[in-house]
Symmetry: D2
Subunit: 463 residues, 4 copies
């Protein structure tokens, strides 16, 4: 295929280098955006008097046909020798409208073209990521609603700490995902300026109306304010991928928790067979593959971010060919994050908690020790002393293999002369839970209130 830049050159490209240089294999994903951008550019060249109205219409018709045809049959791109998606479209346009195609690139460069395409693509793509975040939030809120009052051991350091409710645990992830959603929104708003018209680096020399052009392409922030920056910056790509890393890390933590919950040892959670696999050797195995893959893919997304950051470090202005390497990590982070969100929602919808086992576990292992200390505090003991004395009681209970409330009465009387209530009742899981009724706390009432608040917020998101 004829290059877009042949005049100055004598030789042919080395075929090995040509393959190395070719980006059509991945930037074909931008075709729809490229067509959209070119249509807008054609119209602006018309408005600026560079093209006649009839020429504009022929170009637009040709471009739209290319868009339709490749959407209907993406295999048209297979095996093309075009250098990149822009050359592919230009070349297809020559076939449609002949020499007129050669007028479309007036005042435009691939530099502002690709910068525009990437933003158009990213706006749609990461809008979809946001929707999937919302879907997962919905799945978790539903599950939290169902288990708002179901006790579960709460952990710190993976050691049993205090009883919480299953709903409370799920809503922790809802908080994280809601922040992830906000981050995405901010990132999308920040990048919403139009590079087209920046040309190669210095601004186009033709009198196009950049604000109108930006509007035509749906950029709410208007035209990008500096032509060098418009073609040379990729912080928006970094920021989107960073948003993905945070989603990925939050999902990796959910995965870690649920993989632990579904062990034989904990037995709190059972995944549906639809998202589990077995072993080719061991017939009894049922593995939480879905969450393991989600956890593992955090590495991939973090690697994508790394690739982008390293590529950009120390590049001079304006465009450098290194920047062709911006697309694959962005695409991969998008694909991976979208898929992880999707399967996590499926896993959540199929998750079955063993409420009885969870409740039993919440009552075993001294998770009420803090409350015992707190009882002493209400009798006027400074917390540090109460803590110390309760610690001694725990040591005694460990030796006897009993829970705190089951210590011999004599021991209790000796250790805690201040206390005289019914410890078994005062330290029951229900009481312990209900005491955490402060805002953000784990008491069933609070969790139910949170569920209601999230449902409202989801409604405000348009769900």
């Amino acid at each position: 295929m004829k290059k877009q830049w042949g005049g100055r050159f004598e030789g042919q490209l080395d075929p090995v280098f040509e393959r190395f240089n070719q980006s059509l294999g991945f930037d074909r994903r931008l075709l729809e955006a490229d067509v959209r951008g070119s249509v807008a550019w054609a119209r602006e060249l018309g408005a600026a008097g560079v093209l006649k109205a009839a020429e504009v219409e022929r170009l637009v018709a040709g471009l739209e046909a290319i868009g339709r045809e490749t959407a209907a049959d993406p295999s048209r791109l297979d095996g093309s020798t075009a250098e990149d998606v822009h050359s592919f479209v230009e070349s297809a346009l020559y076939e449609k409208v002949g020499e007129l195609a050669g007028r479309l690139h007036t005042g435009r460069s691939r530099n502002d073209q690709v910068a525009t395409d990437l933003k158009l693509w990213a706006r749609d793509a990461f809008g979809r990521v946001r929707s999937r975040v919302e879907d997962l939030v919905a799945a978790l809120v539903t599950l939290a609603d169902e288990h708002a009052d179901a006790p579960l051991p709460g952990y710190t350091h993976l050691q049993r700490a205090q009883p919480i409710t299953i709903g409370h645990h799920l809503l922790a992830y809802v908080e994280m995902l809601a922040r992830d959603r906000g981050r995405l929104k901010d990132a999308l708003a920040r990048m919403d300026t139009c590079p087209l018209g920046a040309a190669a680096l210095a601004g186009t020399a033709f009198g196009v109306d950049r604000p109108t052009l930006a509007e035509r392409l749906g950029f709410k922030g208007g035209p990008a304010g500096n032509s060098l920056d418009a073609v040379a910056s990729r912080d928006h790509a970094c920021e989107l991928v960073f948003c993905c890393t945070q989603i990925a890390i939050h999902l990796s933590r959910l995965a870690e928790d649920w993989i632990f919950f579904s062990t034989h040892e904990a037995g709190f959670l059972r995944f549906d067979d639809t998202v589990s696999t077995g072993s080719s050797l061991m017939p009894q195995k049922k593995n939480p593959d879905v969450m393991e893959l989600v956890r593992g893919k955090a590495g991939r997304v973090i690697g994508d971010l790394q690739s982008l950051l390293v590529m950009l470090k120390g590049l001079p202005l304006a465009y450098n060919k290194d920047m062709q390497e911006d697309k694959e990590p962005l695409f991969d982070a998008f694909d991976t994050t979208l898929a992880c969100l999707e399967v996590a929602a499926i896993a959540a919808r199929g998750a079955r908690f063993d409420r009885e086992r969870c409740a039993a576990a919440a009552g075993e292992g001294y998770l009420n020790a803090t409350d015992l200390a707190d009882l002493l505090v209400s009798e006027g003991v400074p917390f540090r002393d109460a803590h110390e004395r309760t610690g001694v009681a725990v040591r005694r209970a460990l030796e006897l293999g009993v829970e705190l409330q089951d210590l011999p009465a004599a021991t209790l009387a000796e250790l805690f002369p201040e206390l005289d209530g019914d410890l078994a009742s005062l330290l029951s899981v229900e009481k312990v839970l209900s005491r955490r009724c402060v805002g953000g706390g784990t008491s069933p009432d609070r969790v139910r209130a949170s569920v209601r608040a999230w449902k409202k917020r989801m409604a405000a998101w348009g769900m």
Copy 2:
């Protein structure tokens, strides 16, 4: 020093592990925030009836004294055997107010305490980063104002591309930094919720008023909405460090440009002696150390982000000791970014452009070839043909060692029969610049307009 958690334990810590575990060496930086948080907590315990008014006052007075004394003499922390800054403060408080100190930790855990301290510190610290971003913007805008109309070769692929102005080049970095500022602002707003009251993981069991507590500590977003999330999440730390990576990458690119500008080969820019160093061996050397260090430190900040992301990946809820490793990368990213911004501003203020040399360079090397093609376009030639024919002219000019406008008249007439104007004038640097008068373009008028716009925006920032 006595531990805060001794009752349950029989043995002493192994001294090697104790050193390994100790965080006072770096979390001492949180002391001021820790005191502020504890004062607020004491007041809330008072309001909740857990402490008497007089007790509150004694605690507050003691805490404030500790804050003052360590501010006046930070060496008080040197050599302390306290496990962390919280233990240090508690222990100092015992010395001031005796056993009453043991009541302060009622209903609170180090988990919500450190989460709160870190946010209080970060709010101030990264507010300072934002100010330094603004300072650097101011320095660059001033320089851009001075050189709004001074020609400079513009580059893509580090090859001369089209003339731009020095001011335009500088304003590209202003755009980047303004986005960095916006990113910081968003990050600070997103994290502005108060973890205190979340206790260890499940919410405090004492009836403190978390909204008031949040307000007391200046958190505009109110209390954190879920106690597990409040103590276990660190996406805000990641986001702040990510903001730093973008600043660092933008500075690394400015560094790369300026290091190239200051080579013997380019000779466009001279750094002040105050930010340059020499060689211990080669007496003639004057090195742009300042910008090299700035560029190199991008690696450091990117490494800090990496450390945080990897540490968090796959951690179960809620707090795990791994998270003690959140502070050093955050502190280091802060210190590094702040310092880089500061020295970059100094370098900018001392940068001397050799305007004559820049202008001469902008006129040499066919930077006006696009404009020659554009002239053909105005004569009705499709751009692709115009591009091709100009490419041939460049090849011819290269052979003859002349600029395009200096090609023999016969050659010009043969290659471009359509053109008859005064090429030397039509292709002059001034003309080429003035044609890029589109929004965001490099023409001196546009650059001056941009400078005015930035000055307004800086005023809106309160500068």
Copy 3:
């Protein structure tokens, strides 16, 4: 303090930049190596006739005194205004020997000097890391010896898979650490060439004998072969830090395993109180802090590697000031890895396995299902069918809440008409273990043989 490069400069350094530029705060760690390198250089200048024998002796005596004095009292470096450790030593040398100090830098640059210092330091430092790897291997082998035959559930996907022995699990980490040791050895051998004599970039102009110089400094690989490479490359630093990342990842996995083993749910392992901490709020907590910190610090070491890689990417030859940023990540990776190895060995030595609980767990949860399928295979059933039929048996057993060998006789007869032996005995943990007697397998005999083999190998390491 007077700079080493003042003659060409007019102004003073900006104090902010001076602080930014100063590396003494961290490169002071190289002092001992710097002195060693300078002593060798002085002797070579003597041998080359550049210095007289008496001058050499005075320089050497002065240098050695500086080494002794700063070793005895490192605070001599505090508050020095020297730019770096090399300037500090030179300046101290002026105080000792007067103007003669000015002759030592003949034919040498800080570029080859620091490259040499760093290698000298790294050789010793990472030799110590290797020793600590060996210590941990020893601790694990001892523990494996003790528990060579103790059953433990083996996991894949954190689901119980097949019985293994505790010893076998420990020896898996021994394999990893032994590879880590080999990697370190290779890295140290590869970097063992002497940069000194490369001068700033082009080689010294004085006739020093570089092979002798290299030998004097203990470099087994002789002088570095190209002066530009000698001063500009840091792949050896990257490789050493990469070795640390592998150690850190292996330790993070051991940590994950042991943290799980020490949960209330598993209950396989108890850490000693000497490496555990409690909670400031929850009196019952005993947390495996030591292994959590070890796991978390993997992030730090991976971040260190990242910092180095990013810093080096795209740097032109030869030395650039960016490279001043090579030291801190290398130092930090060293400190962190050394400390993690040390505390992991302490944790290992204090680890108490609950053998009874481990053995009971190994017999529960269908870990013998593969062996049941294998029994069918010995009766001529293709493995895939045997696997399928055993899977059905597991489903049946799950419904009944029994182990496979405890299925009703009728069910067994129906599902497995081929089998007629005593299933309870054939599927006992002991039998299952003993069948894995292939090389590398988990049978107690094999594990004991492996322990013996490791003890021999450790002896060959000089332990």
Copy 4:
């Protein structure tokens, strides 16, 4: 397609999860290795008496046919619904040999199978990387031979420092690449142990001879020593990708140098048209795309390493599904590094140095200042004083716009009363070069000797 693990499961996989879980899209690359591994396994099952000789032959014939057929027509794998390459081969084998296929998996798991496949693949693949490193070394040595004596400015801090030769500059990269080659060799040797026979985690229960099995598959290090480690470790993948990062960084530095050399400003180097591209807008542009892409792809390889490291951090033993994510980064690092080495060699072979311009540049900009100071040293002036006084001379020369040897005689006499020789000759580029005749120095003789030494070493590599 029927799963390998169906018996225990009731439901079907969710189709979204099934796609997410499927690895055939990328692990198909292991098909040839999988066949090789299965052939060896079949033969060992035969030797162990588990299969009859005739069964072995039928299995081997079937497997080899599958290998041949998919090699001839890889599209056979397209659209397969097999979960992974192992299932694909097993299923194809059923078609060839019927139920006998079900006997092949006896005593084997996908865990040891994939670990073996990956090593078999990596051994060949990274052997090819090593060859390409050698090719590039050859290209650079040839170029260095041609330009062994051609002067070039040497740089530190991108400022002219001292004259070097073009050959010397090229050989610096040869040193780096030779170390990269050694690193690869060490990595390949370290990983050369055979996982097969480790089964799922505990070792196979069938009496296969693992040493023979290892030998059959060409593993020089014998069988892997611990079955858990054999299936759960991926440090070899990390190490190979780390080797790639070092190659990538070295190439990124070569790229940076050559991109600078080929600027209009330096003008030292011209790339061939076969590896350069133009601009779609600017007709005069000829861009060093090849080296820019090579530089940019360093980010990608570093990101691949990151992905792997993060994925592995904190994984429990033995296999977890996260580890399915080991392949894509390894494959990508391989593809990228191989391609970068290949195009870099093409670029090197087509690189044209402008020797005259290089030589002229080496004589301009005070690159001989160190030699002037050295002349003073030979007159007995301490180096520090000589340095200081030469610095003053440079300042004077800068003011006058002349080189050092062209300073007015009076100035020279005043500044350097000790000197009386012909400065122009003493400070000529040739003299300056020839003084660096120490081992590793830049003098033409030394460079020629180095070229000879490299040619010998290449011969020893079998080139």
